[in-house]
Assembly symmetry: C2
Homo-oligomer: 333 residues x 2
C-alpha cells in the first residue's frame, strides 16, 4: 500500500501553511495505467464522481429513450448542480413530465448553493426543498428508470431493481467486484472501488465511441450530454463547468464529495480519477486542473483554469494573503 | 524533518473515506516536550491560536488597566467569536468607551456566523460590518493599546508600535526568533514559529501563575479571562466554548484557521499546540479533543466532548452515514 503523495500547497506570505496529499490514476482504453500518484490500489468511495456510472441503467434500459430524454436531461442525471433557477426549473419540468414532483425524490433537502436564490428564499421565508438538492437530477433519473421498470418507490434501497442495475454497471465499468458501499449524502448507495478501478471506468466512458455494445452506447450518450451542457453539470463559477468550458478539447469533468474528481477524455480514450486524501475540495479543484494541464487538455494560463489551478487566497478585507498551487512538477508534461 | 502523523479518520459505512494528518506537541513549564506527534520542528502559522499572545502587550503596557478592561474584555481580545448578538454588543460597547466605532477596526467585514442573526440581517437587508468579524475583539484590544500609546491609526502595520510589541512578546513566549509572518484573515501580521515554539508559548501561559514578572502576570490574566468567559472566546455550539465548559479542570482552549488548536492547562503547567497539516477544522476539533482526553482534561464519554471527538456524519436527509474519529490510540493515556 503506497501512501498518498503531496499534490497541493496552500501558501501564505513566504510559508507553505497547509498541504494536501492525494491519489490519482490516468488509464488508457485498455484499462492500463498511463500515469499515477499515490496508491492505485487504494479503496475509495467516488461519491458524485460516479454519477455517470449510476446513470448507465437509465439509458441502457431504454427508459431514457422511452421518456424522450435529450442530452440536457442526461447531463442533469450526471450533475451535482448548485440548485440555481436553471437547475430547479429543469428538474421540476422533468418531474412534471413523469407525473411526479419534488416529494417523490428521496435525496433530502439542501439549501440552494446559488447565492442570489438562497438569499431570496431566506427573505421570502421559503424553505429549501428536495429539488434544490445538488443530486436532484440523478434522482430524477432514478425515478425515470423506476417508472420505466414499474418498480416500487424506494429506489435507493440496495435491493431495488434500480440499485441492482447500478451495481452491475459499476462492477462492469470498473472491471472489479465492488468491496461494498457507503450511504451517500443523498441516501443512495455509493459503491466502492479502487483508484485504478475508477480510472478504468472513466477510460471505458472515454473509449465508448470505439465500441458498439449497449453499455458503451449509453456511456457515449452520457459523456456527450455532459460535454454539451457544462452549465447543467455544476453551474456558474463552479470547477466542473468552468474547466469543461475552458478545455482545448472535449472533456467531461465531474467532482465528488470528499475531494474526488474524474475526467473523461474521449479524443484520446483516457480516463482520470483523483482523490484528495483529506477530502478538501479546494485541493481537488486545483489537482484535477493540474493533471489536465499536464495532459494538455487545459492551458495553465487560461484565466478560467487559473481560478482553480492557482487561485489567490484573499482575506476579509479583500487583500491577497497567499495562494493555492499544485506541488512543483505536477503540471509538467 | 518528520512527516505529519495520521490523527483523524472520516468513516462512511465500512470504509475510511478520508484521513487527516497532523503535528502536535505537549510541553511542560520548562519548555520540554512531554509528548509529540509529527514534527516538533515544523514551521507553522498559528493564526488565531496566537491571539492570547497578541494580547500580551495590551495588558503588560498598562492599557488594559487604564481603560478598566475586566476579564470579559480580555477574553474577547483573545476570541474568534461567531459574531452573535452577545459578541457584537460587547465589542460595540468597548469601542464606544474608547470613543471609537466599527469603522476604526481594520479587520474587514465578515457575515455573522450566528445563523439567526445572519438570516435576520439578510431579511432586513443589513450588510455585515467589521464588528461582526470574528477578530473584532482582538482588534478592539489593538485599538485600546494604540490609544494608550497615542500611536497612529494603522495598527496592523508591521512597524506600528502595537505590532512591534506583539512580535517581541511572541518571540519571548515562543523562546525563538520568528522566521517571518503571513498576513492573517483580519489583515494583522501573523508570526510564524515551530510547533515546539507554540507549545512552549502555551506552557509559558500555563505556568504563568508560578512567576511574578509582568509578562507572566499578563499571561495569567488573559488565561483567567478565557477560562471565565468561554462563551466570549467562540460562542454557542463551537468547539473552544464547548470543550472549555466540558473540561474536568480549568483549561483555555483556542482554535485557529487552517486546522490549528492550542490548549493551556494551568493546573499542570502544560501547553498544547496542534496543527492539522491540510488545514481542516473538522479534524482539528477532533484531534484537540483526543489529546485532551489523553491528558485526562476531558472525558471521552461527555456528550459535549463527543460532539467534537466522535461526531456522526449525517446526510441531507438526516441519516447517519458515518462518523469522524481520532485514529486508534490517540486518546489512550
Amino acid at each position: 500500500m503506497r501512501a498518498p503523495e503531496p499534490m497541493v500547497e496552500i501558501h501564505r506570505g513566504p510559508f507553505v501553511e497547509s498541504q494536501h496529499m492525494g491519489h490519482a490514476v490516468v488509464c488508457d482504453s485498455s484499462g492500463g495505467i498511463v500515469d499515477a500518484w499515490g496508491d492505485p490500489d487504494a479503496v475509495v468511495l467516488p461519491r458524485s464522481s460516479s454519477k455517470m456510472i449510476q446513470a448507465l441503467p437509465l439509458v441502457m434500459s431504454g427508459a431514457a429513450k422511452a421518456f424522450g430524454l435529450g442530452p440536457d436531461r442526461l447531463a442533469l442525471a450526471c450533475a451535482s448542480h448548485q440548485g440555481a433557477p436553471l437547475h430547479v426549473e429543469a428538474v421540476n419540468a422533468w418531474l412534471a413530465e413523469l407525473g411526479l414532483d419534488g416529494d417523490d425524490l428521496i435525496c433530502g433537502t439542501e439549501a440552494s448553493r446559488d447565492k442570489a436564490l438562497r438569499f431570496e428564499m431566506i427573505r421570502s421565508d421559503q424553505k429549501p426543498c428536495r429539488v434544490h438538492n445538488n443530486c436532484s437530477g440523478k434522482h430524477s433519473g432514478f425515478l425515470t428508470l423506476t417508472k420505466h421498470l414499474g418498480a416500487g418507490p424506494d429506489y435507493v434501497d440496495l435491493l431495488h431493481p434500480v440499485q441492482k442495475a447500478v451495481r452491475e454497471a459499476f462492477e462492469t465499468v470498473t472491471d472489479a467486484e465492488s468491496p461494498g458501499f457507503g450511504i451517500d449524502g443523498c441516501s443512495a448507495p455509493n459503491f466502492a472501488t479502487t483508484m485504478h478501478g475508477m480510472a478504468r471506468a472513466m477510460a471505458f466512458f472515454a473509449s465508448a465511441g470505439q465500441r458498439s455494445d449497449a453499455m458503451s452506447s449509453a456511456a457515449e450518450q452520457l459523456t456527450e450530454g455532459m460535454i454539451a451542457y457544462p452549465e447543467l453539470v455544476a453551474g456558474e463559477t463552479r470547477a466542473c463547468t468552468g474547466l469543461m468550458r475552458a478545455a482545448k478539447e472535449p472533456v467531461a469533468i465531474k467532482t465528488g464529495a470528499e475531494g474526488f474528481f474524474v475526467a473523461i477524455i474521449p479524443g484520446r480514450g483516457l480516463g482520470v480519477a483523483l482523490k484528495i486524501a483529506d477530502g478538501a475540495t479546494r485541493a481537488s479543484n486545483c489537482a484535477i486542473a493540474a493533471v489536465l494541464v499536464r495532459l494538455g487538455v487545459l492551458e495553465a494560463e487560461n484565466p478560467e483554469v487559473k481560478r482553480f489551478l492557482n487561485p489567490p487566497v484573499t482575506n476579509w478585507d479583500g487583500l491577497v494573503t497567499g495562494d493555492i498551487r499544485p506541488v512543483a512538477g505536477l503540471c509538467d508534461q
